[in-house]
Amino acid sequence: MAIKVLAFAGSPRRGGNSETLLDWVLETMEKEVAVEIEKIAIIEANINPCRGCNLCEKLGRCVQRDGMDTIDEKIVAADLIILAAPIFCMGINAQAKVLIDRAQVFRSRKYVLKLPVVPPERKGKRIGIFLSTAGQTWNYVFDAAIPSVKCFFNVIEVREKDIYYLMVNGVDEKGAILTHPTAHQDAEQLASTVIRDLRLRLGE
């Protein structure tokens, strides 16, 4: 069976640094056999912010009807979920945070309603990747984004030890990543490693 890859481009800037990093990963994966890739740009996906109404704790689904309806099903069906987002003001950008906050419905299923988020045979087999870029060169610039990213993956049933990270700092203006000495190669290597890991997990 084909490996299902679901990738989110979280930046408001299409074709910017974090999306380029994502595209490099996806291009490498596309060259593999039996890999199905779907890429979603969050700003074009019509996702409203979480309203904080907590009704998902009772309903197991969100009361809002928007782009998240289909994304919800895609998240459940994927073997690999990739989130790419830039750092704005020392945190994950607002648009990507909208997706993370809307994953509250999975948290409700998992911890409140005690429902399975994914079918039992998928549990412990899914992988997550967080790709990020930041303009600042500080090495701690990604630190405050990571707890939210871990939270997102945890509720959608990707274990903490199954999250891969590639984060590139010091790239600000559009295209800056193109001249980064290692980012392209690191992205290709990451893509190959993760696909190999997934094939092992899925017993292929």
């Binding site: 003001c89 945190g91 906050d101 600000d172």
Partner: protein
């Protein structure tokens, strides 16, 4: 002139735990003689930062919406209280939407060099972060602080204090919390007095 206090509620949930805590803080400032105002972000229509970086060249934001005049009000305030619950270990998308849009002020300071806050100015402008979280973990607020710190820095406010309360799930909401509301009220009084004292000292 009375101390100008601006409270910004970043919760999508009206009159929930975080906004109630903010209200108590604002009541405290009123008790101390200030004239607090409150802005609720979910009542405003605005788009997040587009990441276009045009402000790096012009010092202005290309987006003009209901958030634009709020930045002027923030810059006119002596005390800025920013409130958000913790969602998924971070501040809400609404508040992050505001903070990301402050990039044009950052650009004015660090790229255009058309805006500058003296250390005395920053000392006289106090920023307070107000937050609640359902979880009991001690570290539940940690990932929220850096973005709030960046926001206060950009806008010329000293990061003066936090008013935070976790374990909302255990206490069944802020009203069941033993100390938080009283603490918020007291801190409202204190910060106004602190700003007034700095005013009498300044030349």
């Amino acid at each position: 002139m009375p101390v100008r206090v601006l409270g910004i509620s970043g919760s999508p949930h009206r009159h929930g735990n975080t906004e109630t805590l903010l209200d108590c803080f604002l009541e405290g400032t009123k008790e101390a003689g200030a004239s607090p105002e409150k802005v609720v972000l979910r009542e405003l229509t605005y788009s997040p930062c587009k990441g276009c970086n045009v402000c790096h060249r012009t010092g202005e934001c290309v987006v003009q919406d209901e958030l634009s005049p709020l930045f002027d009000r923030i810059l006119e305030a002596d005390c800025l209280a920013v409130a958000s619950p913790i969602y998924s270990m971070g501040i809400t998308a609404e508040l992050k939407g505001l903070i990301d849009r402050a990039q044009y002020i950052w650009a004015q300071k660090y790229i255009q060099k058309t805006r500058f806050f003296t250390s005395e100015y920053i000392q006289r402008h106090k920023g307070i972060f107000i937050s609640t979280a359902g979880l009991s973990w001690d570290n539940v607020f940690d990932a929220a602080f850096p973005a709030v710190t960046a926001f206060f820095n950009t806008m010329g406010f000293e990061y003066y204090d936090n008013i935070i309360a976790n374990e909302m799930d255990r206490y069944h909401g802020i009203k069941g919390h033993p100390t938080a509301l009283a603490e918020a009220y007291k801190k409202g009084i204190q910060v106004v007095k602190a700003i007034e004292q700095l005013r009498t000292r300044s030349p």
